[in-house]
Symmetry: C2
Subunit: 514 residues, 2 copies
């Protein structure tokens, strides 16, 4: 059976992931350690994610701005736990000039900076410094801003999209007069993330609060959305933090309240990154490559003319162009439909596989007979095969045009539902002791990449803290497990904590994770 | 007479510029040397510039992607003249970790990088390295890509938007099989820049070729668009470079031609940056602040409710909201109209000046009488005053709604024509000797900021090169003048070169410049 990729998900999920990233032409490693090159198809997916999210960020009252790439080293030191969490691996700028010595380029020692600059790993400190200047009265609040930017966290083991030293993201930062507003903001943006990731990326998630040990450095509460990849691992797909007055205290962000007293602001921050593209791949990809939800497919319908270096080629091409023009006039998933005619000088049979690997939702193959009979031959990427056979359907051009938007909406829905069914079916809520959990995940953990599929466990716990929580973390770590989040909207807890044996106060998700 | 700014253009243009940037809330300096904070109103302008340009970049066949922020030092050294031009002032990353020593954060000496990394000042070298991998056959060409990114060039004297160490830009990079294609691309993108800057930013420009001494380091030909600021100085608003096979040779970017031989690619690059926002300010601003062309105004029509803490306030607010809703349904300048109701707890009289300073094209002031009579009171920012008097016009709501799109188009046109008339009236083509040019610009050059308005000179020249051109540069530099560009589409030249006395071959623009 012809397969588009050299390795299947079952054979080796990690290698399969790398194969999809390469074969779908999404990204590649660069000669710069840990940094990636996002290629046009991958960047196109990111642009569509950006557009959808940016719209919601603006609709919820935020404005975009841009802060410096560099952060003075002394700023990083301002918030104690922030230092702990971020001071470890960061790119440090120490000089500002090169010079030629004997025809060789070297760093000019005379250009040493008085204070080293850090390439931002996140921007709480530099933005907080601006908030301090911007806020003086309660009338200045709330401040609701966002930036789209690149950030750098020096990583030793990198994986394209999932973990790279430089990545692209958005980071929202807000300041509020009171705790309730700031908490509402934190949860509102978590909900925006859930909505975009589920509705646009077609990736079902579970929203919840992170346990204490998984909080953002400096946060009072951290919330996340967690998605289940096809190998069962969890991917943290977005986070939203209530920072309390921690950063406000560290950076002196104060305002005069209605009563005239100086008070500290309550701040929040929240972000999602290019990691989402990795999540899309591992949620929707199959053994033929990527399958893109139409809402984030740079080209939703690809028209492939079956050319044969014969006179009728020009008729076929004209037919394809006219078809694209008619498709361009349609609206699908609330946006102008994105159609494309692939005229590259490549054999048509290869194009089918190129676009299948790249995950174009619909491929139309047009031969001379289609052109003269007013027909199209359609392949749906989400239903590419029936066993070994590629499923293609012939239909009148007019019928296809009439149904194309509904078809794209259906593909979007199918991909979500398929992933949702997998998520729902693979959360074990019946394991009520640590031993049972350890049994379930088993020893396969030793060989991380090739281990059999394991889903998540939702277990009762007593919300241990401090040293007790550290012990929990250590026990889980031995099984390569982590605490993911405490799902929102839980009813009253029952049973006993799988870690402490005390009465449970809530349930928490446990999983292997990216 | 009430003025919105503390300083006028005539009093001190440089201070006026700073005042507009601050008072229109566009940007501010940051605690990081040379880096700016682009505030929401300024970033909103940039987003609209980006959107218009991105659309044209895609329509002309280019795809966006993203390359690493960091460039290995050895890459910078690959193209000799590129090194000359860029190796001087750049941010150099030498370490990748901080650590705490006695409670103090320091750079960890153990984290020194084997090879220093340069924060990209431009990306020819890192992108060329990818082109080398991507291109093997003539079938792979052309490669047409673009990226939106931040770049860093260490600057000693900075000015917000115009010259900052970090700035935002787009950089297009293309590779072609032959020279003619590459040259056509270079000129095509110059024309895209001209079109966007004139039609969207309403800034008239002169497109031309840069003389040899002003070329991009490593380019065979550099073209620019030059705009005239209100102090007469030129602002280079965009550049497009034909790089020949210089970078292809340096980086070994080759392809197998149709005949089977290995050939070097011809490459191009082209870019515009956040500097354009500075150009908009200095083209359209007046002594009351910024005036924004509607096509790049984040809010085109601002509705100001005249609230008085009285019961009728709610009626006024409802009227304003309904007005905005109706405006939101309109299309102006080929995009949905952008209306805004300013509900901030600030006195309405102050809001008028806030929005005048920020350059909102139309301000509607709505009092209780307007609300009950179905009227609006309209202020046009481009025609704010009649002498000392603010011009406001009352008209029925329905009439305003019916004419709003046409009015915005008219404001857009007016701003362009006003600037075009200034440009056309201030290019002297009658100075046919270097002495006459020196006389015209005069000694005021010594006090750069406060000098009287001087336009540009368009003078015949013989296209000197090498040492002779260096002499020209030196003579001009003494008068703080530079060669701007050789305008495209010239007829046959007449007269003698103002520098060499030889027969002229063409005309060149001479001006003071940013």
């Amino acid at each position: 059976m012809k397969r588009a990729l050299s390795v299947t998900r079952d054979e080796n999920f990690a290698q399969w992931y790398q194969a999809v990233v390469a074969e779908a032409d999404l990204a590649e490693t660069s000669p710069v350690r840990g940094c990636m090159i996002v290629k046009p198809w991958g960047y196109g997916v990111w642009e569509l994610i950006q557009a959808a999210l940016d719209k919601r960020i603006k609709e919820t009252g935020h404005e975009n701005c841009y802060f410096p790439l560099f952060i003075p080293m002394s700023f990083i030191a301002q918030e104690a736990s922030h230092v702990e969490g971020f001071a470890k691996e960061m790119a440090v700028v120490t000089h500002h000039r090169l010079k030629s010595v004997d025809g060789k380029l070297v760093v000019d020692p005379d250009s040493k900076l008085e204070e080293p600059l850090i390439v931002r790993p996140t921007s709480e400190t530099i933005i907080g410094d601006a908030f301090r200047r911007w806020v003086s009265s309660h009338r200045d609040l709330p401040v609701l801003i966002n930036q789209w930017a690149n950030v750098v966290r020096w990583e030793m083991r990198t994986r394209l999209f999932l973990r790279t030293s430089e990545f692209l993201w958005q980071e929202g930062h807000t300041a509020h007069a009171d705790e309730a507003d700031a908490r509402e903001e934190t949860r509102k943006m978590l909900e925006v993330y859930r909505e975009i990731v589920e509705d646009v990326l077609a990736v079902p998630v579970i929203a919840g609060e992170k346990p204490e040990n998984e909080r953002f450095p400096g946060a009072v509460n951290t919330y996340s959305i967690e998605a289940m990849m096809q190998d069962g691992k969890a991917l943290q797909a977005g986070t939203s933090h209530y920072l309390g007055t921690n950063f406000a205290h560290a950076q002196n962000i104060r305002f005069q309240g209605a009563s005239g007293e100086l008070e500290f602001c309550h701040t929040t921050s929240w972000g999602v990154s290019t990691r989402l593209v990795g999540g899309v791949i591992m949620t929707h990809g199959d053994d033929d490559g990527l399958r893109l939800p139409p809402a984030i497919a740079p080209k939703q319908i690809v028209v492939v003319p079956m050319l044969r270096d014969k006179p009728e080629d020009s008729e076929v091409l004209a037919y394809c162009e006219a078809l694209k023009a008619d498709l361009d006039d349609l609206v699908a998933l609330k946006a102008p439909l994105r159609a494309h005619v692939d005229k590259k000088p490549v054999r048509a049979a290869n194009k089918r596989w190129d676009w299948a690997r790249r995950g174009a939702p619909i491929i139309l193959e047009i031969g001379p007979r289609d052109a003269s009979n007013g027909m199209v031959t359609m392949i749906r990427r989400d239903r590419l095969r029936d066993g070994d056979k590629i499923v293609s359907v012939g239909m009148p051009r007019a019928d296809f045009l009439a149904t194309a938007p509904a078809l794209l909406a259906e593909i979007q829905k199918n991909l979500f539902e398929e992933a949702k069914a997998r998520l729902d079916a693979n959360i074990r809520a019946d394991l009520t002791s640590f031993d049972a959990i350890a049994d379930y995940f088993g020893k396969a953990a030793e060989d991380d990449e090739a281990s059999a599929f394991k889903g998540w466990v939702r277990a009762p716990w007593a919300r241990p803290t401090g040293a007790e929580l550290e012990q929990v973390e250590t026990r889980l770590k031995a099984l390569k497990l982590t605490l993911r989040n405490i799902p929102l909207g839980q009813g009253a807890a029952s049973g006993t904590c799988v870690f402490t044996g005390r009465p449970a106060v809530e349930e928490i998700l446990i999983a292997r994770a990216y």
